[in-house]
Symmetry: C2
Subunit: 322 residues, 2 copies
């Protein structure tokens, strides 16, 4: 594939979700001056899976990063690194997925770039998406704003994305029973913020590092203690079984369509109501709360009634799931 | 290197050019609502060369893309894909270069991302930078606005970057005589626009595809004809010799610190004066003009007085120079 063919294919398939020009930069008029910016590269393996593919993850991941900062996602850039010989049909399938996910989330792709490297110099395809969103709400969502009594919510089953991809990679069989949760959640976030306003303290996309990492960052940033209930965690039995088999802890597995929210106690019901109105967060549940305790720590009451510390996980995490 | 070490290293070395936060997105206040956005991935080989490295190219390239659209570059994101085992010392050297180039250009790195892939799944390091700039001038620089009589300027010696990298790759010896022109040129562009305002029709960063490609795009977009003078092209004898040896045409070689400007005839002297006041564009020269002729074509008067067409180059270009 030549550069010209690749650029032409991208423009053709992205259709009206692509408003880039041939000039060097996209020129855009924003509806305000307060913006959010985020970037992410995607080196997912396998590229295609049940529930999505690298194209869907690349759009949804960056849309979600903007959304959880309180921004309305508007624009994405899309940069592609292709290994020579990458199948055109796979590339087109990924682009269709980029387009569909962008259209669903209501964002436009405004600029693109493609680099082709020789065989063996990349693993098929890597994507980068960088997103720009507009901050229209007066909110300042921050992990520093947690207070004792706040409730911790997760919006869906934990670990499914990682278990699905790991199982597909290794051929364990669980890939047919647990699918990826990959989804753009900006409409979900907008509804929760409409319902609860500044009673939402902060939101985080529970990707690399999993819920355990997110909650440790929350506890440290706010110098609070967080108490989890293991029985409250939404985890599918199949996912728990696969995690046991693989020797991994669901608390640290990456998700691609799961949010963690901290909400004031009196607006928790309103938040859950808003979440349950969306298919992507139909299983949202309160899993813990901010408590008096040693600042910066996360503790969990286990199924058998014991207490354990949920540490910040250092070192190697499972690679190439997001 | 673990993710934590990598993130820590990035934050430490980038210092006050890095204003990212631990939260998912950077929240920024812009001085206006009209912005420019551009993205670029960098898969440069070799990573280090005389005149720069992949870090300098990644910052300068995106800064230049914003600048030539008339924007003042403000913010960059930096996404890194690292091959497992990539030397920490090389990574730090690249980050220092990112910092120095960003500081020189007056831009901040506002968000970052790092992904590590296994050995053999990437070639050392790939970078992506995405830039946001603010459009403060009422100008609308566009390749569609060329008119007969306009003058075509290039700001420096052509082909040096490509010849240097190709020569270093192949060990041809020219790498000691020709160095890369890699540079951030936003201050140069600002001075030209201050001097000439809307008499600057358009500017383009002469990277992949070289001057031949840029001028063909200009001619097609504006449905004008462009006439070049080969003797006016600033090309070093060493570069011409190396290009001959390698069987490549300097007109299509990528540069990393070279602009092509089209300026109205009565402001050409003012533009050259502004350009000559900067070291990076001290050798700026008029190389041609917009003429009556077949719309969409580029012609060149050669050294021996003949006329040739400068075609749009289709198909394979030299890989991994930018």
């Amino acid at each position: 594939m030549s550069q010209e063919l690749i650029s032409g294919t991208i423009a053709l398939i992205l259709g009206d979700t692509y408003i880039g020009e041939m000039e060097d930069s996209a020129l855009l008029e924003l509806p305000g001056r307060r913006i959010a910016v985020t970037t992410d590269s995607f080196v997912v393996e396998p590229l295609f899976f049940d529930g999505g593919d690298i194209g869907k993850i690349a759009v949804a991941g960056t849309v979600n990063d903007l959304a959880v900062s309180g921004a309305r996602p508007l624009y994405l850039t899309l940069a592609v690194v292709l290994e020579e010989g990458f199948p055109l049909a796979d590339f087109e399938r990924i682009l269709h997925s980029v387009r569909d996910t962008a259209a669903g989330a209501g964002v436009r792709i405004v600029a693109g770039d493609t680099k082709v490297v020789r065989r063996g110099e990349a693993d098929g395809i890597f994507l980068n998406t960088t997103g720009v969103g507009i901050l229209e709400r007066p909110l300042r969502l921050s992990s520093r704003s947690l207070r004792t009594g706040d409730q911790v919510i997760v919006t869906g089953y934990l670990g499914d994305h990682s278990i699905h991809l790991l199982s597909q990679r290794e051929g364990l069989g669980f890939e047919h029973r647990v699918r990826s949760d990959c989804a753009a959640l900006n409409h979900v976030v907008a509804d929760v913020l409409d319902a609860c306003g500044e009673d939402v303290r902060c939101i985080r996309d529970v990707t690399r590092g999993g819920l355990g990492t997110v909650l440790n960052e929350f506890a440290q940033a706010s110098t609070t203690a967080i108490q989890l209930s293991q029985t409250a965690l939404p985890i599918r039995p199949e996912t728990a079984m696969a995690a046991d088999m693989l020797g991994v802890d669901v608390l640290y597995l990456a998700n691609e369509g799961n949010l963690c929210l901290v909400v004031s106690p009196d607006r928790t019901e309103a938040a859950l109501k808003a979440l349950h109105s969306h298919a992507e967060s139909a299983h949202a549940a309160v899993v813990g709360s901010v408590v008096e305790g040693q600042p910066g720590t996360v503790r969990m009451t286990t199924q058998d009634g014991r207490e354990r510390t949920v540490d910040l996980l250092y070192g190697a995490q499972l690679p190439r799931l997001c």
